[in-house]
Symmetry: C2
Subunit: 360 residues, 2 copies
């Protein structure tokens, strides 16, 4: 079989250029006689890979010097715990915005460590829209405000960074990071599981303003103590070396292809054409408020849900895979991260239109 | 450059057969049109990979049915926290045996969560031997007893499983797991970072007797709650999929090559010939009590430490790399895990003897 267009929500497609390079270097990285997986993380070869990855990421995102870049383990779900443990700094309250499934998980986990004020919730709209900033009930004494810029399941996305005054803003960017430019200086902490726009599952990015670290709760696991990991260049223990290497190859791929400005343009175009195809058809529909539709995850349902299985089956035979919607939503979901070529979106639209003609 | 014999303590060599298969499957795993890194962890392709890996590991180690097998994130160092959080089960004390650097780290971390009774320590021998079982001061009310079967830095290893009565025995097997047969039923919990004998860094194995889980401290991070992860087949959140795939390839390689009995024979032979070469020479020495010398990590020093740099340099030019000893010990260290071919040990011995002839 040839390579497919894989619309998985994550782990997700990786750029073919990256995979080819990884394949070619598998038995011998740049004349070292070793696979990157085999390298000591303390050796000069791997240290150079890690340093280059951080430097490239800093350049791509324009990360200011007063922010630390950490590559950790545990996924975003691990950080749901690590963030309160690190950022409460003696306080007992944090504000959270509830915009859907991932917000809810972050909230449930934070409640293990502090009082959570749900400052706003999209529940009234069944999470099909984002509550207007004007209605948010922020606490005076919150250690930070947490939100989820993109909800992968419902396909709801913030298209602007909310203004929250001096409260450190914490964002779970797992599914939007690197998809367009972002002003890092607006945030106290940005975190992301890698498996959507960064690289393989198993490495977790944390970008944190350095004045916010150093006051972790005393029983914070050493590997999740942001200040300690920052002091050890994320190598307090053995990091997920191969995942970081692949992430580094993705960063270089992004730089070769115009960086986040170029990605943002392509991603906007991919999303706009897919939503247009859905909106222009009576056969497909997307229920999300047009003002906060995700560029990354595009859920849609068929007018005839009894044809879902046929749709998925025929799509797969055309090399369009993993389009099944999340079990909590049903229907379809096309996740179109950076590594999904525009040609993949075009082919999906063509297939959808053909399927509609034959089945409407 | 051709492939080297890499004596790194971890991350360490992987079997060349495994790397070749990973290379060949990089762009298209078994006709799926996807790299394993790109697969949804919920899809049938990856689920089959994960199930096969667990089944193969259970077969290799003879893991009884009343033990759960978990593949987590955080490394052994993460488990230094997760283990007390899960296994204290309302108690406030745990026994630890201190045999060196890794024991000490486990102890320091456990002290964040409970009272630690250091039931025995190798300190008097500068950790060059293991304190005799007869002198251990076990607590009556310890939730578990933790020990480190192999200390990678000093090269000290238990050659038998200690008898501790009904107290659940917890072992950090990061550097010995899969190196020989082990009777899992003797243990309450076995854990291991992958990057020595299992696969790539970034995945952590936990094998735990099922009656010991389900009473994690309420503020345990969800991703480290062993009962919750067991209930979700280690997929409470996205697992490190590619690392698990490579581990699975290693398990199949072990099965093709005779399993742990065969590995144990080879590893014993590799270690014995290397220690013999050291002991037979006035130029090299290893300070560890012969009764507890590690099969996996063989530290040695030169009679003329001023030649250390020359030794390392010449060795590297012969394709024998990463032989520098840990900074806390100095000298040399040859880590000879499963994937180090016996030919690599032979070549190292030959080089050592030649170096001695020219420099003694």
């Amino acid at each position: 079989m040839s390579r497919v267009y894989n619309f998985s929500a994550g782990p997700a497609m990786l750029p073919e250029e990256v995979l080819c390079q990884a394949r070619d270097e598998m038995l011998d990285w740049q004349g070292s006689g070793m696979c990157v997986m085999e390298m000591s993380h303390r050796g000069k070869e791997f240290v150079s890979i890690a340093e280059q990855a951080e430097a490239d990421l800093r350049e791509l995102m324009g990360i200011p010097d007063n922010y630390k870049v950490l590559f950790l383990q545990g996924g975003a779900t691990g950080m749901f715990s690590a963030i309160p443990l690190n950022l409460l700094r003696g306080r007992n309250k944090a504000d959270y915005i509830n915009t859907g499934a991932w917000s809810k998980k972050a909230i449930a986990e934070a409640k293990k460590y502090c009082e959570v004020n749900v400052a706003a919730s999209g529940e009234a709209s069944d999470f099909m829209s984002i509550p207007a900033r004007s209605g948010w009930q922020l606490s005076d004494d919150a250690a930070y405000l947490h939100y989820t810029p993109n909800e992968t399941i419902s396909g709801v996305e913030f298209h602007a960074v909310p203004e929250v005054g001096d409260t450190p803003l914490v964002a779970d960017m797992s599914s939007t990071i690197l998809s367009r430019p972002v002003d890092v200086s607006r945030f106290g902490l940005i975190y992301a599981g890698a498996q959507k726009n960064i690289g393989p599952a198993g490495i977790t990015l944390v970008i944190v303003r350095e004045d916010l670290i150093g006051e972790a709760r005393p029983d914070t696991a050493m590997v999740w103590d942001f200040a300690k990991q920052a002091g050890a260049d994320s190598m307090l223990n053995t990091p997920p070396t191969y995942a970081l290497y692949i992430a580094g190859l993705v960063f270089q791929w992004l730089k070769r292809h115009g960086g986040l400005e170029a990605m943002g343009e392509i991603n906007r175009r991919k999303a706009e054409k897919l939503y247009r195809a859905i909106d222009d058809s009576p056969f497909y529909s997307n229920p999300v408020d047009p003002d906060c539709r995700s560029w990354m995850n595009v859920p849609f349902v068929l007018a005839k849900p009894e044809l879902d299985a046929t749709f998925l089956d025929e799509a797969k035979r055309q090399g369009l895979t993993t389009l099944k919607g999340h079990r909590s939503v049903g229907g379809m979901r096309a996740s179109i991260y950076n590594a999904m070529p525009e040609a993949g979106v075009d082919k999906l639209i063509e297939f959808m239109q053909d399927f509609e003609r034959r089945n409407a």
